[in-house]
Every structure is written in structure tokens, then in C-alpha cells.
């Protein structure tokens, strides 16, 4: 390999005094002393979450308080890191939601595995799983980092529902029972 000698330029007088460099640095310092803050005092101050943000996946209820998930397990199937684990279950025949027939017995999302890709939300045919604005998940153990069903509903809360398809289904059944449409 060829060796190319590089000639080092001698420093000028100004460079040798370091004064222009110090002044330049102080200029930056003083500018930031008076400029408005760009950082947040986290965690007391929280950033504003933009629309379409993909936070922690959560389960939601519809405006009537019905749990929307029917444990179809499509999210479990689509989840690339296999973070979701569902145990399907049947809704008791005497429940007010008996016409939905199916609800999760257990629903676990392992947040150590979750990559926040949002495929679960995209695939959900019942619009039951949503990546909302929660972004901070901490815990001391692996078990603490698994969100179980009750925690998922607590995080998810209630979201508006444009369809209420199961309520319509129930209404049609009630109408049929009272001699309406067969």
C-alpha cells in the first residue's frame, strides 16, 4: 500500500491563542441561556402525542361497556414477535352478552416481546385492540411486563363505536322473538 505523506499546516497566531474558539463557544452558550426550552421535564412534563401514534396495545370496551374482543385469535396469529397469547372462552348462556357467544378467558400481551408494529390493531375484525397513547412500560420482573386481560382493559378504556353490530344483532333477535322479521 502506498504511503501518502500529509503535510500539516502550521497554526496561525489567532489559532494558537485559542481566543476566537472560546468566544465562539461562549456565543453558543449565551444564545441558549436566553432561547426558549426545547426539552421537557420528563416525567413531570409529558410530550403531546400526535395522532396515529402506536403506543402500548390495549383492549377497549364499546360505549355500552361490552368487552369488544371475541377472542378470534387473529392478532395472536398475525403478531410477528408472538407477544400475544389468548385463551378463548364462551360467554355464559344467561349473560346479557350471550348473543356474542365468545370472549377471551385470558388475554396476555408480553410487552418484552411487543414491537409496537400495530398489526394486531390492523387485523382485528371487532376493532377491539388499539395501540393508544400509552408509551411507558416499566417493571421489575418479566411477569410485571406481561399485560393481562384486566390490565389491558384498564389501559384501553372505552372508545366510540360506529357500528354497534352486536347490538343490532340482539335487536333483530328480539324483534324476531316478538313476531317481527323471522
Amino acid at each position: 500500500m502506498a504511503v501518502i505523506p500529509v503535510e500539516r499546516k502550521p497554526l496561525t497566531l489567532a489559532e494558537r491563542t485559542y481566543i476566537p474558539q472560546i468566544v465562539h463557544g461562549l456565543k453558543t452558550t449565551f444564545r441558549h441561556l436566553v432561547a426558549p426550552n426545547v426539552t421537557l421535564e420528563y416525567p413531570e412534563q409529558r410530550p403531546e402525542i400526535p395522532g396515529g401514534y402506536r403506543g402500548v396495545p390495549t383492549l377497549v370496551r364499546d360505549p355500552n361497556g361490552r368487552e369488544k374482543c371475541v377472542s378470534c385469535q387473529l392478532c395472536e396469529f398475525v403478531c410477528p414477535p408472538k407477544a400475544i397469547r389468548i385463551t378463548p372462552g364462551e360467554i355464559a348462556a344467561d349473560s346479557a352478552q350471550a348473543h356474542v357467544e365468545r370472549a377471551p378467558q385470558a388475554f396476555d400481551i408480553d410487552m418484552l416481546r411487543c414491537i409496537y408494529c400495530g398489526l394486531c390493531q390492523e387485523v382485528c375484525p371487532e376493532e377491539a385492540i388499539w395501540l393508544q397513547t400509552q408509551y411507558s412500560m416499566t417493571g421489575y420482573t418479566r411477569e410485571e411486563m406481561v399485560n393481562h386481560k384486566d390490565r389491558l382493559y384498564e389501559l384501553g378504556g372505552t372508545l366510540p363505536d360506529a357500528h354497534l353490530k352486536w347490538d343490532k344483532k340482539k335487536a333483530a333477535e328480539d324483534a324476531a322473538a316478538h313476531g317481527g322479521h323471522h
Partner: protein, 561 residues
Amino acid sequence: MTSPAKTELVTVNIDGKEIAVPKGTNVIEAARLVGVDVPHYCYHPKLSVVGNCRMCLVEMGMPAVDPATKAPVIDPATGRQKINWIPRPQIGCATNASPGLHIRTQTPQIKDCREGVMEFLLINHPLDCPICDQAGECKLQEQSTGYGRGYSRFVEQKNVKPKRTQLGPRVTLDDERCILCSRCIRFSKEIAKDDVLGFIDRGSYSTLTCYPGRKLENNYSLNTVDICPVGALTSTDFRFKMRVWFLKQTNSLDTESSVGANTVVWSREGVIYRITPRRNDEVNDTWMADSGRLLYKAVRAESRLVAKDSLAALLARAETILRLSPGLAAVVGSGQSSVEEQFMTRQLARALKAPAYLVSRTDSGDGILVSADRNPNVRGALVTGLIDALPQSYLDELGTAIDRGEVRTVVSVGEDLMAAGLSAAQLAKVSVIYLGTQVCASSVAGAVVIPTLTVFEKSGTMVNQQFRLQRFAKAVAGPVGAFDDLDVLARLITAAGGSAEPSDLAGVWGRLAADVPALRGLSYAAVPETGVVLDSSPWAALPFVEGESLHHRPARAVANA
């Protein structure tokens, strides 16, 4: 022997592809042979043809002949015989192959027909796939994707019909999902001979229901669930347990009787969720009994045996017992073991110079797929030479030998000696080495209990009532504290002072192929999925207990005919 069926071949043309098929072959089946999918719901290869779903519409034509002279009419444009196409579509399921038959399935008319039929079928279908157990194996899902129009024009209210109906102890019906194909009705009538299902009401009110006061509770009811193309009939046991797309399929056998129905075991991550039949036209067609579908419950039963000690410790104790009373041992094999295990049991008996017994299990057969012999593999014991006569229900001979003090040690490979007729007093006189999967009187009384694997946790072969050697494969791993039967037997043989035997399936098959005349030249991998029929002539004179069943006529019935 029955004479081979007459196979007059005729050439048919399906979508431009010529194929020779036996005369009378259904167009759906003929199309399948050339790789053309004719979508259908009501047609089932093992049931009568009704043609009520209209999904299999095809265009049909015949070569033109002059009516007067019967001379072929040549199309001047192509120089070949002209095809007279029927202007209206025909149903494929009720069209049989005849010479020169021409079928088109890819024309605009057929595409329109399929879209139209799909649209009608989906009008009153609830489209509740997220809560439907059939999702993933639903013909309606598949064919609406493949042949439907993709959107709905229906804005009116859908029908309301009964849901969550218990048709019987094992079958749940959702009438809204039913597309009225009548497969279940025909199955109940034609195969199960229990005509309990039917349609009531007319038009869009038509509803599948049970005859008043009756239930769908015959031992074949779950086959209606298998053949239901939609999610109308679902298994109560499997209801909402797991999605089918997660389940791994493993080919296995129904071990409840000597019919040896072919099955598929569906499991996920070491847990079995269901068992369904696997098509074998020589054994069980596409059916199996409900009772055989519950056998997987034994895998995780409360009574499952697992060892706390290591296998080495258990074998050391077994060896001590075997050495204590040399020449005074007896071996009880099992008709529920695989061929390989029975061979190893025979080797064990030889190493111990001990007599080998087998326990027969008989009950009445149902003439379909449960035979009188409830041991799946008695013939395996004959083939491998473990026994040379048919087994008795009770081990009276062994009991007498124990009473006379001729037997001090009994090695039982999966048989409960108490249930097989030995008294508690007789059991107290002997040391029992028990290999098995479930807690029973023998395992309680056993001096050494070595837990082994169930049929779902190991691979092997069995010989059914037709002397058909069939394979079953390992579906799930065994629990901790249960040991592979072949390994245990091989080590017991060594402990008994016999020569070293292989402890894996391939090794045992090497010995079987060399040592057992009926299995000469065979290997485990070479056994086809549908099984291979062995030469049964050495045992032709034995009075087997089986009666006639679906694809089996006992030798004595054939002789009398």
C-alpha cells in the same frame, strides 16, 4: 376373493385437458384428477348426490353426431368433431363421465353462476367468522374468496334462526350459519343409519333440526361436524377451544378397536385439541366413531402415571426383582401396544424364558367402525410371534401358575392384571413390574412401576382386523417422568440377561424386517399412509371375534358366502 371392479375407461375433456376415467366417474372427481377445482358444498364423495347447493355448475357438451346417420359432425372451422354445448349450465356432481364428455369451468357464464350462487348463500349467512369455530377450514370462507363477488348488495335484514342449539351430547348447531346442503342429514341416514336430522319449513325459513323428541346422539354424530362445510354444526368438546390454523396435524390411528380407523391428531405446543378422521377408502372412508375422538383425554388425565425417580433407578429395582427369582417370571403383553413393542415384549419373554400372555378385550361391534375386538393390535401380537393363539379375556392360566408357585414375577406391559382376572391374593404372591400410562390396580400393587407413553406420544405401527399394517406418528411430547416404551423394554431385556436390543424405532424395524416373516423387507418409513396388507394366511384358521364392518368381511363370512 371378490372380483376386481370393472373399469371401463372413458375419455373426457375438462377445460381442454383430456383424461381417461372410469365410466360413471363424477365430474367433480374427474376434474380433481386434472387439477381443476369445481367448488361444491353439498356433494361429498361418500354420500349420495342431491345437487341442492348449485355451486358446482359447469358447462357441458357432447360431440355432435348426425341424428340420422350417427356420423360425427365435423366443424369446418377446426376440422374436428363439433361439440354441442348445452346452453344452460349443469351441476357437476350429478354429471357422470361418458365417452366424449366435454366440460368447461372457466367461462364467463360459469363465473357469473358461481358469483350468483355465492351471493344467495351469503344473503342470510351471519358472517360472524370471528366467533365461528369453522373459520380457517370453512368452505364458505374459501369459496367466497375464490369465487364470490367480494361485496354485498343485500341491505335488508338477515334471517334470525335458532343459535347455540344442542342437537345432542356432542354437537352444537347454529342454524343461521347453515347453508342447507343436507350433508349431515344424508350422513345420518346413509352411514350412521340413525335418521334424526331433517329440514323443517320452506324457502328462506328452512331450518335444520332434530326429529321431535330425538337427539343426535349416535356414536357417529361428530362426523356431521366434520362434513359440515360451514360452521353450523360444531363440536361441543372443541367449541371455542383453539383456532384451527394454530393446530399441527399428525397422522395417527383410532386405537379403540381393531378397525384401526385412520385419524388426524390436532395439537398445538404439546396439547392435543381434537381428533378427526383421515380418509382411507380401504378402512374407514372419511368417518370415525365419536368414542375414538375422546381418547386424547388420557394424555392429560388425572390418573396419568409419571415417575419421580429416574429411569435408571427404576430399572435397577426391576433388575433386582428379575434376578431374585430366575426362571419364575411371566410376561403379560398387550393388544394395545404397537407392533414394535410387542416384538420387544416377545424378546423380553424369551430373555426371561417366560411364557407370554395377552388379554383380549371384547364387546359388541357396531358393524360400522367399532369392532368386537377392542384391542387395536391383537394381530400385531400374532404377526410378531408374541402369541400364537387368540388371547383369552382372563389370565386364568397365569393365575393357576401363580397359585402353584411357578410364577414369582409378572412383567405387565400396559395391562391391568386385576382387571384381567387375577385376584388380589394372587397379586400379593408375585412381584409386579408394571409398564403403563394410567393408574390402575396393578400400578398400585406393582413393585416397580415404569410410566410409559400414550399412543399420541410415540410413533409405531399396528395391524388392524384386515391384517393391514398402519402407521401412527408422534403428535406431542410425553410428560416429564414418562419413558419411551421401546427404550424401557430394551433396557429390561438387558436387565433380564438377554442380548442387547435396539431401543429406537428404526433399529427395532431392522430386527422386525429380519426376524418376522410377515414383515420381511418392510421398514417403518416404507409403510404407506394408507397402510399395507400383510399375508394373513398363517392365521386364517383362527376364530377372530370381529363381525362384519364398513370395509371388512371376516374370513368365515367370506367362506360361508
